[in-house]
């Protein structure tokens, strides 16, 4: 049984100089066989394990992770959470996740520092205005909060934005989702890991999958660096490496893996208390609780697994940031990094069965998977446990690339992909 985190446990542990905190999860050696194995110990994979154990009573399961948990894209994203997507299917999926975020810290007894500070999307030309207005209407029909703001209202909500009409891409308006915001990305992985571990899930780190063994059309198990693990159900949640794992099972996916970059500045006093995104100039910025500006750049257009991006992508983003926020012109950047994102042709994810029995994929989140972490885990757990998708992820199947029933969020969502 885990000790609960609370103000009292904090005080109690302060007396022993915080040296006797209970381990948040065990470090088990893999068993010979599990009822299900999740490949990938990022936020989505750990959430999947958590909901499999909690909602579907599947506790004889394991999460295998190549590195350390939360060390991949979970620790590399820009922590933005929103659900203002255009199409009904996406709105259902992302708002389901947002509703879970709203109660997550309490549910898993782990402070994920979810902060509903609002996400504002800027319009810079007439077409942006039309698109953003259309999207706010679509959002509201789906029960998602969204308002359209004039230039003056944008300035009032975030005073440091340059709203001069004389800049290259003047701010002509914007949208605001007040329920949107940010969360602490590491805490999400750690919280789900602790919760899953408490229910008996084995979290096995430093365990790379080398092969997926099939017996005809069924999954038999996985070959790993810690030996063979027998299982009838394998859920792959490997982000940028999904195609590599699909290849092990003899499948091909409609994915391309590309580097996506982000950077943070030196920490400064609070200056921006919301998240501002700009689709047209591709720049988004928020401020972390430590005071760093968190800046998201774009993807490179070539396939790469190198976790490095091109300098000109960062340069373009910073040009846009400086034009929108001249106040940041003296800021120095502390760190820059890349993560490998798996992008679908329609820029929507895949949470789906495959034509191999017992093999499931949760991938294709591209540039925006973090926001969906709880919802993705919940729906993927449902899909694995019941061998059937939940109605909220039914549209996000692999078959849509054959039927043509795509969920085309390319450019239609709030940010360019």
């Amino acid at each position: 049984m885990k000790n609960r985190y609370s103000i009292f446990s904090l005080i109690k542990n302060a007396f022993s100089y915080h040296e006797n905190w209970q381990k948040a999860w065990k470090d088990p050696t893999p068993k010979k066989e599990y009822d299900a194995v999740i490949i990938g110990g990022g936020g989505h994979g750990l959430a999947t394990a958590y909901y499999l154990a909690k909602k579907h009573n599947m506790t004889n399961i394991a999460v295998v992770e190549k590195g350390w948990i939360g060390g991949g894209n979970t620790g590399r994203n820009t922590t933005i959470i929103r659900s203002n997507y255009l199409w009904d299917a996406s709105a259902g999926l992302y708002d389901h996740a947002l509703k879970l975020w709203e109660g997550l810290s309490q549910e898993i007894n782990y402070n994920v520092m979810f902060s509903q500070r609002g996400v504002m999307n800027l319009a810079h030309n007439l077409q942006d205005i039309r698109d953003l207005k259309r999207r706010t209407h679509a959002n509201r029909l789906n029960g998602i909060d969204a308002v359209y703001l004039s230039t003056e209202e944008v300035k009032k909500f975030c005073p440091i934005i340059n709203t001069s009409p004389n800049i290259r891409y003047p701010v002509l308006g914007g949208t605001l989702q007040r329920r949107a915001g940010t969360a602490r990305h590491d805490a999400v992985a750690w919280g789900y890991a602790r919760g899953a571990d408490e229910m008996g899930v084995d979290i096995i780190q430093n365990c790379e999958v080398k092969g997926i063994k099939r017996n005809g059309d069924e999954v038999e198990g996985i070959e790993t660096t810690k030996g063979f693990i027998k299982t009838k159900k394998v859920g792959v949640v490997a982000a940028g490496h999904s195609s590599v794992l699909a290849n092990m099972a003899g499948l091909r996916l409609p994915l391309e893996s590309k580097p996506l970059q982000a950077l943070v500045s030196e920490p400064v006093k609070p200056i921006i208390d919301t998240v501002v995104m700009s689709n047209a100039v591709h720049a988004y910025v928020s401020q972390s609780d430590k005071g760093e500006l968190v800046i998201g750049a774009g993807t490179d257009d070539y396939i790469s697994y190198s976790q490095k991006g091109s300098h000109d992508i960062v340069e373009g983003t910073l040009n846009a940031i400086l034009e929108l926020y001249p106040i940041f012109s003296r800021m120095r950047m502390l760190r820059q990094w890349g993560g490998i994102v798996d992008i679908c042709p329609d820029a929507s994810p895949i949470i789906s069965k495959t034509n191999v029995k017992g093999l499931y994929f949760n991938c294709g989140w591209g540039t925006g998977g973090f926001k969906a972490t709880p919802g993705s885990g919940d729906l993927f757990a449902h899909t694995i446990a019941n061998d059937e998708p939940h109605k909220l992820n039914a549209a996000f199947n692999l078959n849509r690339f054959i039927s043509g029933d795509l969920v085309d969020e390319h450019g239609a969502a709030a940010v360019a992909h």
Binding site: R252, L255, E256, S257, I303, S306, P345, S403
Partner: protein, 91 residues
């Protein structure tokens, strides 16, 4: 970020080029005969290899010509560059 030797212009920065994805995907000879599965395979399914991959590139801010490249996607090193229609120099 890396340098690419365009077969027509010589060595240039990668930012002058546009990546065109996987190379040697042949357009179906009889499109009218294709099933939905075969269309999906042609249009959407990709190898997306971690390692040595054959791909197309376009010198968008240069001669604007297309060419092929063999590149290791795990570390972005280029193995070979060859013109459209030519046989790949290495397997």
């Amino acid at each position: 970020m890396f340098l690419i030797t365009c077969p027509f212009c010589g060595e240039r920065e990668q930012s002058e080029f546009k990546a065109g994805g996987e190379a040697h995907i042949e357009r179906p000879k009889q499109p009218t005969e294709l099933s939905d599965d075969e269309w999906a395979e042609y249009l959407f399914m990709r190898k997306n290899i971690k390692g040595v991959q054959f791909e197309r590139w376009n010198h968008a801010h240069g001669c604007r010509k297309w060419f092929n490249m063999i590149r290791d996607t795990s570390n972005d090193t280029i193995k070979a560059v060859y013109k459209m229609g030519e046989k790949p120099p290495v397997k």
